[in-house]
């Protein structure tokens, strides 16, 4: 029998966006789907590109579409070698459709993308751009699974629409053996939770994931929102988001 997982996520508008009256461009999405072949658990997070006014729409689309696509194609994507290309094609298709409907350039919908999906103790993790994906092991030790992928400069990164996109989607897949939790964060949150000098996550990330051991998903979502609003966003000008997934 496969393990049961719980998730929670939240996103808040950064101080810089509040000042400029720009909407929050971070998004998160969670999806649990029961099927006769097993339960699918998905968590995704995206940070819309600051220079594009509709990037919040793009972030919303990719967070939802990626999980919907992975839910339907999980077994196949686990087996094929060109997982990255298949996922890319799907996302580009969804974004292109939206861009056509709105009569805008697809780049207007640019965002980063981070996701983790699990089914029958197998996982697929993917990451484009900045932000961090962390993993918790059975000894309650937190470590980085995927580091931020920036350009040289702090205000540059890679997006879902970047021309070199195929090389920028990092995919990790395999079996869940010792892992008991995951955390996804945008670059606004990683300013407080990820040490850019040592390239390590703060130990408190383990504590955050473990909130799902003791609180309901709704309670934890509320706690994530409060902490993002009351402490984490005050250490950055950027929007902040967090998503966590925990074996329970």
């Amino acid at each position: 029998m496969s393990d049961t997982w719980k998730s929670a996520s939240a996103y808040v508008t950064g101080r810089g966006h509040l000042t400029k009256n720009i909407p929050c461009q971070d998004r998160t999405f969670e999806l649990v789907s029961k099927h006769s072949t097993g339960v699918f658990y998905g968590l995704s997070l995206a940070d819309g590109a600051g220079s594009y006014k509709l990037s919040d729409i793009g972030a919303e689309i990719v967070t939802k579409e990626i999980l919907t696509y992975l839910k339907s194609n999980f077994s196949n994507l686990l087996q094929v070698k060109n997982t990255s290309k298949k996922i890319i094609n799907n996302i580009e298709e969804q974004l292109a459709k939206e861009a056509k409907n709105r009569e805008i350039d697809i780049k207007e919908l640019s965002s980063t993308l981070l996701f983790v999906v699990i089914k029958n103790d197998k996982f697929i993790v993917g990451h484009i751009g900045d932000g961090v994906i962390g993993v918790l092991d059975k000894d309650n030790k937190i470590s980085v699974l995927s580091h931020p992928d920036n350009g040289e400069y702090s205000n540059s990164t890679f997006f879902t629409t970047t021309d070199s996109y195929p090389d920028r989607l990092r995919i990790i897949k395999g079996n869940i053996v010792d892992s008991t939790g995951f955390i996804l964060m945008s670059d606004g949150s990683d300013e407080s939770l990820y040490d850019s000098r040592t390239k390590e996550l703060a130990p408190v990330n383990a504590e955050i994931i473990n909130w799902l051991n003791v609180g309901s998903s709704k309670e934890v979502k509320s706690a994530l929102e409060s902490n993002l609003n009351e402490i984490i966003k005050h250490k950055t000008h950027d929007d902040c988001s967090l998503g966590i997934l925990k074996k329970c």
């Binding site: 205000n155 670059d187 300013e191 939770l193 309670e219 409060s226 402490i231």
Partner: protein, 228 residues
């Protein structure tokens, strides 16, 4: 469960160093700047440093260096926090070794970037602000090539600034990384304050940019002309 138990404490969070924006002023201090121009330039530079110091964000993000060039190029102030810097007044004398000055400025910027990388400090694309009232008296070909290489790779932003009517616009355009290689022209020395006021506002905007941002700089004041 009570949400009271799900509260992060300040001490549990990481104190990452502030992302830095290195800005190097490369200033003409040749003899033709003698008198009012050099005096006003000195006041303008001091105003710029003071403006950065009083900006809550730029103060901790922007790092400034000053290079001057006349018969030789000289580092007037190497990169450091503005709080720790005192500015030596420039004196006008000698020729216009612009090529040497720009190369020294580029060397300082490269060195600072290496130091940031070694210490795990994030940084923005560096800025070079080149100001001259004349034309170069040395060979500028290497300096131009280096600047253009960096600019084309989006590794450097260069503002070329002409002082008065005798500045060699053709030369300054070769260094500019702005759209259409435009050159900013300060009509006369008395307008340096307005220029540095605009520059400090621009630096402040750039030091708050986030990934994907194309910082929208404030419009230049009327006393600054655009030379296309």
């Amino acid at each position: 469960m009570s949400n009271n138990l799900m509260v992060l404490r300040e001490r549990d969070l990481i104190e990452n160093p502030t992302t830095r924006l290195p800005v190097c002023l490369c200033l003409d201090s040749s003899y033709s700047m003698n008198g009012a121009p050099i005096n006003e330039l000195n006041k303008g530079v001091q105003y710029f440093f003071d403006a950065i110091k009083t900006d809550e964000i730029a103060r901790y993000s922007v790092e400034l260096a000053v290079v001057s060039f006349n018969s030789e190029a000289e580092t007037i102030s190497d990169f450091s926090s503005v709080d720790r810097q005192t500015i030596t007044l420039l004196e006008a004398d000698g020729a216009t070794s612009m090529g040497e000055g720009v190369e020294l400025a580029l060397d300082l910027l490269e060195q600072r970037k290496r130091e940031f990388s070694n210490k795990g400090v994030d940084y923005y694309q560096p800025w070079l602000v080149l100001m001259s009232d004349g034309g170069p008296t040395d060979n500028i070909s290497t300096a131009v090539r280096r600047v253009q290489e960096l600019s084309s790779k989006k590794k450097l932003t260069v503002f070329s600034v002409a002082i008065g009517d005798n500045a060699d616009i053709t030369v300054l355009k070769q260094f500019s990384s702005m759209k259409n290689n435009l050159v900013l022209k300060v009509k006369s020395a008395e307008h340096f304050k307005e220029f540095f006021e605009w520059l400090s506002q621009s630096v402040s905007v750039a030091s708050q940019s986030v990934p994907g941002d194309k910082p929208s700089l404030p419009p230049t004041p009327p006393v600054i002309e655009i030379e296309l």
